[in-house]
Symmetry: C2
C-alpha cells in the first residue's frame, strides 16, 4: 500500500452523508447513501470505489505555494460540515501537451490557483491523483472540498469560474458529489 | 490494470541477460540472471519486481519536446543489443519543492534534457513513474536505455554529466543494471 493512498467508498457506511450526485459531464456515478473515506484497503462493499494518492504539486510556483500556505486552513474544521468530492477526467489531448503548455492553460489563461486563492480560507481543498495508479481508473483526479454551509454559494461561484475556463475545455468527465457530515 | 503499466521481473526468464548490477547510492538489488519485461500481471517468480507507468512529461517544454521528437528513435532497434535499467528514488526535499523550483534544478541548473539531446539518437530512452502507484514502491522512477555496444562509452559519459549535476543532490537511491539481449 502507498501511505499516501486514500479510498472513497460509496455505500451504507461512513461519516459523510451523500446529499446529491450531480452529473456535470460524461457518465455520472450511481446514487448511494454515505461515503466512507479510509486509508485501509479493507474488503468493503460499496456501490462504487474511487482511489487517489496525494502527490507533489504539478503547476504551483514557489510564490503561489507561499500564498496558499499563508491563507489556507486544514481539513476537519468543526464548522466544515459540508463537503464536495469532484472526480475529473481530462482528455488525451491535455496529457499530450508539454508542461509549459499545460501550465499556460492552467494558470495564465484559466487562473486556477489565483481564483482559488480568493476563496481561502473558507473553502479547504485537497487533491488526489488517480491517473498513475497501477489500476486503470475512471478519473484522473479527485478533489475534496470542505466548507461551512453558509459558504456553499461561494463554492458554487468558484465552480462557475473554473467550469467556464479554458482549462475545462480539456475536461471530458466530471461528477459533483455533495456531502454533509 | 493500467494499460500504461510495465513490470520488470528479475529471475530466470526474459529476453534480457543481466550483465551486472551496480550499486550507485543506497541499497542495491539482488543479483539475478535475466530480466523479463511484461505488461501482464502474471504470477511470475522473481528475485525482485519493479513496476512503473508511462505518463505525461513533467518538465519538458514544447520546444524541447519538438527537438526530442525530431532526434530520438524508438526502442527495439535491431542494433540496440545493450540496455540499462536505472531505478532512482529522490529525497523528500525534492518532492516538497514547487514545480518551478524543480524545473529550475532539472533543466536550467542541471541541463537534464539538453545534455540528453546530445546523445540522440544513439541512446534511446523511456521513463516509467513509480511514486504514485497504489503500492509503496522502493523507487520513484525507472529509466530504460537502449543502445548498441559501441555506444556504451557515450552512455557512461552521459551518466557522468547527470550524476555530477545539481539534480543528483536530490537522489537518495540509485541502482545501475546493465543488460544484454
Amino acid at each position: 500500500m502507498n501511505p499516501r493512498l486514500t479510498h472513497f467508498y460509496a455505500g451504507l457506511e461512513g461519516t459523510w452523508c451523500i446529499r446529491e450526485i450531480r452529473k456535470i459531464k460524461g457518465p455520472s456515478l450511481p446514487d448511494a447513501e454515505r461515503l466512507l473515506i479510509t486509508d485501509s484497503n479493507g474488503n468493503l462493499d460499496g456501490k462504487w470505489l474511487l482511489r487517489g494518492v496525494r502527490s507533489n504539486s504539478r503547476y504551483t510556483s514557489a510564490e503561489e505555494k507561499a500564498q496558499l500556505e499563508l491563507r489556507q486552513e486544514g481539513l476537519g474544521r468543526s464548522t466544515s460540515t459540508f463537503a464536495v468530492l469532484i472526480p475529473i477526467k481530462k482528455t488525451e489531448e491535455w496529457w499530450l501537451l508539454s508542461q509549459d503548455q499545460r501550465r499556460e492553460i492552467f494558470e495564465e489563461q484559466s487562473k486556477h490557483t489565483s481564483v482559488g486563492l480568493n476563496y481561502l480560507p473558507a473553502i479547504a481543498r485537497r487533491l488526489y491523483h488517480c491517473r498513475d495508479l497501477s489500476t486503470d481508473e475512471p478519473f484522473d483526479f479527485l478533489t475534496w472540498f470542505e466548507f461551512s454551509p453558509d459558504h456553499e454559494r461561494d463554492f458554487d461561484e468558484l465552480l462557475v469560474h473554473l467550469r467556464t475556463s479554458r482549462e475545462w475545455d480539456f475536461v471530458e468527465r466530471e461528477v459533483d458529489i455533495r456531502l454533509q457530515r
